[in-house]
Amino acid sequence: MEKYLNILNIAIYGSAVLLMLIGLYGALTKKSLIKIVLGLSILDSGVHLLMIAIGYLKDGTAPIFSPGNEDKMNIMVDPIPQALVLTAIVIGFGVTAVALSLVIRLYRHHNTLRIDEIKKLKW
């Protein structure tokens, strides 16, 4: 079991970090504004996965004391990262919505989404 947990350790953290890096790569190198926003939202997803993974506890169950199977509720995963991620997801959505509205307005003015054609201020 230790070994499997070790695999999961590398896999989950690795994929969370990879998601972040992919998102950052897209946000930094892509030319299309919508692609940049998409990259930012993928970056957010990666961070959220990272936070949940930190709160996970081996053999734990969800932090909800529902009736029925009380024997499983001795070990519970950490509820705090979950609460924080809840907040972070909603905030991330707010930022994405604002970003997309900015993109729409930029398109209205410049009639293009390509960042190298919009760039009037120094980037």
């Binding site: 169950t61 969800a62 909800i64 529902s66 029925g68 199977n69 499983k72």
Partner: protein
Amino acid sequence: MNYIIYFSLTVMILALILSAIRFYKGPSAGDRTLALDTMTTIGVSGIVLLSYMYNRYIYLDVALVYGVLGFIGVIVIARYLEKAL
């Protein structure tokens, strides 16, 4: 009983992979959306199965919400493809 669940999960994973391949290959937007739809359906059944495995009744809520919102997402994409949006 456990083996049956393992078997179902394995088959679901294979189904997920097949629809992912269809998503990758395309060729049209409809195919990709169909792949998304199928994945949502598989996901709902997978979540129900997972909630049975963990023996937590409350996880069923997730399946319900997941199904509803996946459906709405597909309708939105279909309406966009119709050029009605």
